[in-house]
């Protein structure tokens, strides 16, 4: 016996919207495609911006990095708003559970003293780095060309402020429910010698008006920073009985793996572009090379401070990571040899 539900069948006249039929042929489109492709206006703008009359409201010329057909690039995660917020609701719920556990078991109090200092001196100041990363990503969300790229950048911007809030919640928890530890971390970010090279680099990256170059610079910094603090130190923490550091770090490293997916695909698309590929590769190479040198230098005092606390080889890991980032760029078709 079969379950037979009679319904009125009406053949649809169209499978999807015309602009998608022109691009993909006459086939049903996904919600990602309907919600993203061609969403940004590209022509017949009415007025030039008062804040930059030399350009249109949207223009490919806000960056040297360009795609001939911007919608040849799509987000490998196929994130439109609903799946994006659903994924992030899961991420934050998992992080919340971790934090509950750490609090319930008094895990921050049980950290070895050196690791306690590392959380205070090294981990918490990074919330300011994340806040700047939001602003850099937001600039790409506004000035980028094409809704696939800008959508990724917009979600990344929200992710970064989310990361800053996760670090802040660690700080509040670590400070026994007060903001004292966050205040100390902020003072360190603004005043301590350890952080000044990184803060300077961050401020300079914020001042970069080319959203594409700023995104590459930030990503280059992220690659080194995330590897060092959230992958390498995660391993060391486990070996050193600092399990709570590891429990926190896992959420950041898994977020970063997700971030890599859209950015690596974008870099590949830039480099492979039939018309702009060579120019893009050169600009990415130049920007990433400079950023890599700068982040290497800027993180030296931070690595030293970490080494002084936990007697590790952060310094060596930093050097290795920088070399790995070069390789990673090479795998994407960008040569970073000086």
């Amino acid at each position: 016996m079969q379950f037979e539900l009679r319904t009125q069948v009406i053949e649809p006249t169209r499978k999807t919207f015309s602009h998608l039929v022109r691009r993909y042929g006459d086939r049903p489109a996904s919600r990602y495609e309907e919600g993203t492709i061609d969403l940004q206006a590209v022509t017949n703008f009415h007025y030039r911006p008062l804040w930059d009359p030399s350009r249109e409201i949207y223009s490919p010329d806000y960056s040297v990095l360009k795609l001939t057909d911007v919608y040849a690039y799509t987000d490998p995660r196929q994130f439109y708003y609903a799946p994006y917020v659903t994924a992030r609701a899961d991420l934050h719920e998992a992080f919340g559970s971790t934090l509950d556990y750490l609090e319930k078991r008094g895990m921050f109090d049980r950290l070895p003293p050196a690791w306690s200092s590392l959380v205070q001196d090294i981990l918490l100041p990074l919330r300011h780095y994340e806040a700047a990363a939001q602003m850099i990503s937001s600039a790409a969300a506004r000035f980028g060309w094409g809704a696939t790229i800008t959508q990724c950048a917009a979600y990344a911007a929200f992710d970064r402020i989310g990361n800053a809030q996760m670090l802040s919640r660690v700080g509040i928890s670590f400070g026994g429910g007060s903001a004292d530890c966050l205040d100390l971390a902020k003072t360190a970010w603004i005043e301590a010698d350890t952080w000044q090279p990184l803060r300077k680099l961050v401020e300079e990256t914020l001042a970069e008006r080319d959203w594409g170059k700023a995104l590459i610079a930030l990503d280059t910094m992220d690659r080194v920073l995330y590897t060092l603090f959230y992958t390498h130190l995660d391993d060391v923490a486990i070996a050193s009985g600092a399990g709570s550091y590891s429990l926190v770090a896992q959420h950041f490293s898994s977020w970063f793996a997700d971030q890599r997916r859209w950015l690596d695909a974008l870099i590949k698309a830039w480099v492979a572009d039939p018309e702009h590929g060579a120019t893009n590769a050169a600009a990415i190479s130049q920007t990433a090379l400079a950023a890599l040198g700068e982040i290497h230098e800027a993180l030296c005092p931070v690595a030293s401070a970490a080494d002084a606390l936990i007697d590790d080889n952060c310094h060596i890991t930093l050097d290795t990571t920088v070399a790995q980032v070069r390789d990673a760029y090479a795998a994407l078709g960008v040569n970073l040899e000086a």
Binding site: Q8, N44, L50, F95, S117, M135, Q151, I161, R199, E203
Partner: protein, 509 residues
């Protein structure tokens, strides 16, 4: 080494929110602040203390993601169910969808524009409080653009007029009205955008611009759009509080801001109000089942709530009601009739259909507009005779457009329904035409900006729209047979009748 203090002072909710948002900010010292925030000085607005910004809502990223994910889950379940059950057949009539065609073509692209420019504010405002609030709104606006597309996507599969809304938004004559409105806001500075969109669009006029579509949906069996409307409600109330905080913040920061803000209120009231002409005709003419008349909506949502409420509060800051508000009040008696009459005559070049209102509909209009409608009723009586004689009226020429609002110049003087209102300004030897004093005032204040307007009719004459003849231009617009013209006998109308016959004969529906 630092040891976390024991028995520390617990944070209040407000302190905690501050620690998670604005406390992330710091004063730059390696790069001058003017270089990091280059766009917040040229408009003349003076901000002395960004920390005085009161957070309009306290939503952290984790809570935001959780609530929004739950809301979307419910919304998409409704959309899927409606599509699966051929829910479109239970609309009041296929002609109802003209309102939604206008919405998808005219409003959805604006949600996307708002998404992009709130991202601009989340980067370029100096204060971390408003930056974070803007970031949340930027995401919300993306949500609205996409959920609207997904909500209306199912109708596109069965009905005309929806299929090329993005292409049309950038080209078609009546869509340059909303497009130029938002382009105007995006090309302004960050503070003007806050007043234009955050305050004027999202607060002052939202019940006249956005909400009527949602109410129309609920009265006409459009469950998906109504569900979208409810789902957007909590986002919208955040946007409203942001808009209100924005204006208060600017006014409280410096007295010199008051005249600048007053000018923006004057400008953006009229800009937004002119866009509502499209909503006015939708409310009065496009809904098979009426919600309320434009006049009633205007009196309730604008005269009572805004003039009677909001502007009483703003008087404290030295802000008076918008300059041309009296004209808008006068127009409430006739603007919808004139706007629909324009669209009726030009719908052969539009992606929606129009028709002569039924007797019952005309009676309703006369009840709503006892003083003015008898004049317009004569017009419809005459047109009905034309239709009966096979001469349905379409204007074959191209209309003159207002240089600012871009609506065809079909509005009249308030005291005479037969005298077209026309104003003009000569600027650097060129003559510019306006539909009203409101639009002329806006031009006169920013002639260099508004002479740039991409006027669809001028563009056709200049040969920039694919062809010099109507069929060629319609092709360039992306129009397909059935998109526009008369509703009776249209593709949608024929399909609707056939589908309902089918439903009757098979015992469905």
């Amino acid at each position: 080494m630092t040891i976390a203090p024991k028995a520390a002072r617990k944070l209040t909710m407000k302190q905690r929110y501050s620690a998670l948002t604005r406390d992330l900010d710091w004063e730059p010292s390696y790069v001058p602040a003017e270089e990091l925030f280059p766009y917040t000085r040229f408009e003349g607005i003076k901000i002395h203390d960004w920390s005085k910004w009161e957070d309009p809502f306290r939503l952290t990223v984790d809570a935001y993601a959780k609530y929004q994910a739950e809301k979307d889950k419910r919304l998409y379940a409704v959309l899927d169910g409606f599509a699966q059950s051929q829910g479109h057949l239970s609309l009041t009539d296929a002609s109802y969808l003209n309102a939604m065609k206008l919405f998808l073509q005219g409003v959805t692209p604006l949600e996307y524009q708002a998404h992009r420019n709130f991202a601009y504010l989340s980067r370029h405002l100096n204060g971390p409080g408003p930056r974070f609030a803007s970031l949340c709104q930027s995401l919300d606006e993306m949500r609205h653009a996409q959920t609207e597309i997904h909500t209306l996507s199912n109708y596109n599969k069965y009905y005309s007029g929806f299929h090329d809304y993005l292409h049309m938004h950038d080209r078609v004559w009546y869509l340059s009205v909303p497009k130029s409105f938002f382009d105007d806001a995006l090309s302004a500075g960050p503070f003007e955008f806050l007043i234009a969109i955050g305050f004027s669009f999202e607060y002052l006029l939202t019940n006249l611009l956005f909400v009527p579509f949602m109410s129309g949906a609920s009265f006409n069996g459009d469950l998906p759009t109504m569900t979208f409307g409810f789902s957007a409600q909590s986002d919208e109330s955040r946007h409203m509080t942001l808009g209100l905080e924005a204006i208060k913040f600017l006014l409280e920061q410096d007295e010199d801001n008051v005249p600048i803000v007053q000018h923006w209120i004057d400008k953006w009231f009229w800009r937004g109000y002119r866009v509502t002409a499209l909503v006015a005709q939708m409310l009065d003419y496009m809904l098979p089942r009426k919600v309320m008349s434009w006049k009633e909506a205007f009196e309730l949502y604008f005269e009572q709530q805004m003039l009677g409420g909001l502007f009483q509060d703003l008087a404290f800051y030295g802000i008076r009601p918008p300059r041309d508000v009296e004209k808008a009040i006068q127009e409430k008696d006739y603007i919808s009739h004139q706007a629909y009459w324009i669209l009726y005559q030009f719908s052969h070049a539009a992606a929606f259909t129009t028709s002569v209102p039924s007797d019952e509909h005309l009676d309703w209009l006369e009840e709503q507009y006892p003083d003015t409608f008898p004049t317009y009723r004569k017009l419809w009586d005459k047109e009905r005779k034309n239709v009966e004689n096979g001469g349905r009226h379409f204007v074959r020429g191209l209309p003159q457009l207002c240089q600012v609002c871009q609506i065809p110049m079909g509005f009249t003087e308030a005291d005479d329904p037969f005298i077209q209102c026309q104003r003009e300004t000569i600027f650097e030897g060129e003559r510019y035409n306006f539909c009203s004093d409101g639009c002329k005032n806006i031009f006169d204040h920013e002639p260099v900006k508004f002479r740039q307007s991409w006027l669809p009719v001028h563009q056709i004459y200049q040969g920039n729209c694919g062809a010099a003849d109507l069929p060629g231009v319609l092709q360039w617009y992306g129009m397909q047979p059935g998109d526009g013209g008369e509703y009776l006998g249209s593709v949608d109308h024929e399909n609707w009748l056939a589908w309902h016959d089918m439903a009757e004969t098979t015992g469905g529906n």
